[in-house]
């Protein structure tokens, strides 16, 4: 059974939240080192 659009939206929302966490960890860490030193 294909996922309903509601389920797709829920999945996507959670995925974007998780991806943003990963992005903040990677870029935030480098940006902090760059701007304020290690």
């Amino acid at each position: 059974m294909a996922l309903t659009s509601e389920q797709r939206r829920k999945n996507l929302r959670l995925a974007v939240a998780l991806f943003s966490v990963a992005l903040v960890f990677a870029l935030g860490f480098v940006a902090k080192a760059l701007l304020f030193g290690l």
Partner: protein
């Protein structure tokens, strides 16, 4: 966050029926794969291939160390072998293998039709191939493969040839693959469970992977950041880790181990999950202390973030820092002990039989616990300062990663392969594989404790005569352990892939519980297309 799929209106649909419509064939089936079982199979085959490549490097290492003196390889090439062995085993073999298990089993165990993002799942897998090629190609680049150790410590990494760049790029790609895989797993578990499959009714394998996926999302970006900074130090005139420009190489170690220690648990928690499935099945009892298992796994994951500097006692840390990381590390033995005692309590007065999956599980508990104890010994700063970078540490982490992760995977393979392939493996062959692996694993790695205690450093191609005997024993053990895995490939895996063997029943293990045993063997291409209706324990389909 804990939403589950709603009941469909129509329960009359036979979810076990294999719908073959649109079923791609030939190379398209694999290249464009979006089916979780196909992708799981590809992950497992890829991981096993990399395991053989990494294993070959290990045997070359043991070949050189068979006798004192330089026999076959110069020290530089030897260092390339140790580095590539570590990188390939960690990023190419163990991690993808567990993702393969996750792909195969998580949708089946929670009653989902597939992973949440099937196309991203395809991308996660296929990214691994160019990454692996790029990693392995280092041997053919000027200057040879990276030789800075799998930890890629600065400033060594700043002095390596072009292969360091290709390896860093390969790790970036593998990291992206892992993060995508983790997002997929978390979304699948949290959003796509069958109705009635509450979080606290999930199988332990699913629980351990949920926690592992969170760990991956938290630490893989940190590794990506650290190696990006190494890259900019190499090519863009920054000095994050280069002491020549005012950078701090010790800071690299802190950042690396902030990734590296949780990574250890990323490589062992799914094995804990597999053992927590296998032991109850062959003890014919429910898992003892399910709730405490879940909390223990979570505790291990949380604690793994505050122990990283126990890898760095010799870098000149203040005593208060040493004490903090020492006690925090010792604390991890509490939830780990909870898990070990729960497995023992599950076996206690159980109606146990010892088919291959159970043999591997019991072997895991016994040998992994030995690795855990040496870990406890290494956690103590005064002792670790003596043991740092000796073969004692090599023995310790191979007891955890080989006897832990690998034995756990073998247990899972023998347990679930009948469901994957539709045929039973030969019990005799499974037992030969187990006993030869267990014996030769110990022949290989147990003497390394003595070598380390006697002061033999790791990552050396030559050593004084006093270490000769134990090294010869370890090399013979390593060769035999490697041959045991070739036996597994030729006499267990290949026949299973060819469909040779007794047809597997739907539930081949009398005591096994869970939704994966509610579908035929081999599992049809499509399963649980409509969410199944579950019984009170969420282990049986009732409609």
């Amino acid at each position: 966050m804990s939403a589950v799929l709603p009941h469909p209106v129509d329960h009359g649909h036979d979810h076990e029926h294999d719908h073959a419509h649109g079923h791609p064939h030939g190379w398209r089936r694999w290249l464009f794969a979006t089916n979780h079982k196909d992708i799981g199979t590809m992950y497992l085959l890829f991981a096993f291939t990399m395991f053989l490549v990494g294993g070959t490097l290990a045997l070359l290492i043991r070949l050189e160390l068979f006798q004192p003196g330089l026999q076959y390889f110069n020290p530089e090439l030897f260092n390339q072998f140790t580095t590539m062995h570590g990188l390939i085993m960690v990023f190419g073999a163990i991690m993808p293998a567990f993702v393969g298990f996750a792909n195969w089993m998580i949708p089946l165990q929670i009653g989902a039709a597939d992973m949440a993002f099937a196309r991203m799942n395809n991308l996660s897998f296929w990214l691994l191939i160019p990454a692996a090629i790029m990693l392995a190609s280092g041997f053919f680049l000027p200057g040879g493969a990276p030789a800075a150790g799998w930890t890629l410590y600065a400033p060594l990494t700043l002095q390596m040839g072009a292969s360091m760049d290709s390896s860093i790029f390969a790790l970036h790609i593998m990291g992206a693959s892992s993060i995508m895989g983790s997002i997929n797993i978390i979304v699948t578990i949290l959003n796509m469970r069958a109705p009635g499959m509450t979080l606290m009714k999930m199988p332990m394998f699913v629980w351990t992977w949920l926690i592992t996926a969170y760990l991956l999302i938290a630490v893989m970006p940190v590794l990506a950041g650290a190696i990006t900074m190494t890259l900019t130090d190499r090519h863009f005139h920054t000095s994050f880790f280069s002491p020549a420009g005012g950078g701090d190489p010790v800071m690299y170690q802190h950042v690396f181990w902030f990734f590296g220690h949780p990574e250890v648990y990323i490589m062992i928690l799914p094995a804990f999950g597999i053992i927590s499935q296998v032991v109850p099945a062959f003890a014919r009892k429910r898992l003892f202390g399910y709730t405490s298992m879940v909390y223990a796994t979570s505790s291990i994951a949380i604690l793994s973030f505050i122990v990283w500097a126990h890898h760095m006692y010799t870098t000149g840390m203040p005593v208060t820092g040493q004490l903090f990381f020492m006690y925090a590390t010792m604390l991890i033995s509490v939830p780990t002990g909870v898990k070990v005692f729960n497995w023992l309590a599950t076996m206690w007065r159980g109606s146990m039989t010892f088919e291959a999956p159970m043999l591997w599980a019991v072997g895991f508990i016994f040998v992994f616990t030995m690795g855990g104890f040496t870990g406890l010994i290494c956690s103590m700063a005064p002792i670790d300062i003596q043991l740092q970078d000796t073969y004692y540490v090599v023995a310790h982490f191979h007891y955890v990663l080989v006897a832990g992760s690998l034995f756990g995977m073998f247990s899972g393979y023998y347990y679930w392969a009948p469901k994957w392939t539709g045929v039973m493996y030969s019990e005799t062959r499974g037992k030969i594989h187990f006993w030869s692996s267990l014996i030769f694993f110990n022949v290989t790695f147990f003497p390394m404790h003595f070598l380390g205690l006697a002061g033999m450093p790791r990552r050396v191609a030559d050593y004084p005569m006093q270490f000769a005997d134990f090294n010869a024993v370890a090399s013979i053990g390593g060769l035999c352990f490697g041959l045991s895995q070739v036996y597994f490939l030729l006499f267990v895996v290949v026949p299973a892939m060819r469909g040779k063997g007794e047809p597997a029943p739907q539930r081949p293990w009398e005591g096994a519980e869970g939704l994966e045993w509610e579908v035929p063997s081999p599992a049809p291409w499509h399963t649980y297309e409509t969410p199944p209706k579950l019984d009170r324990t969420a282990t049986k389909v009732i409609g």
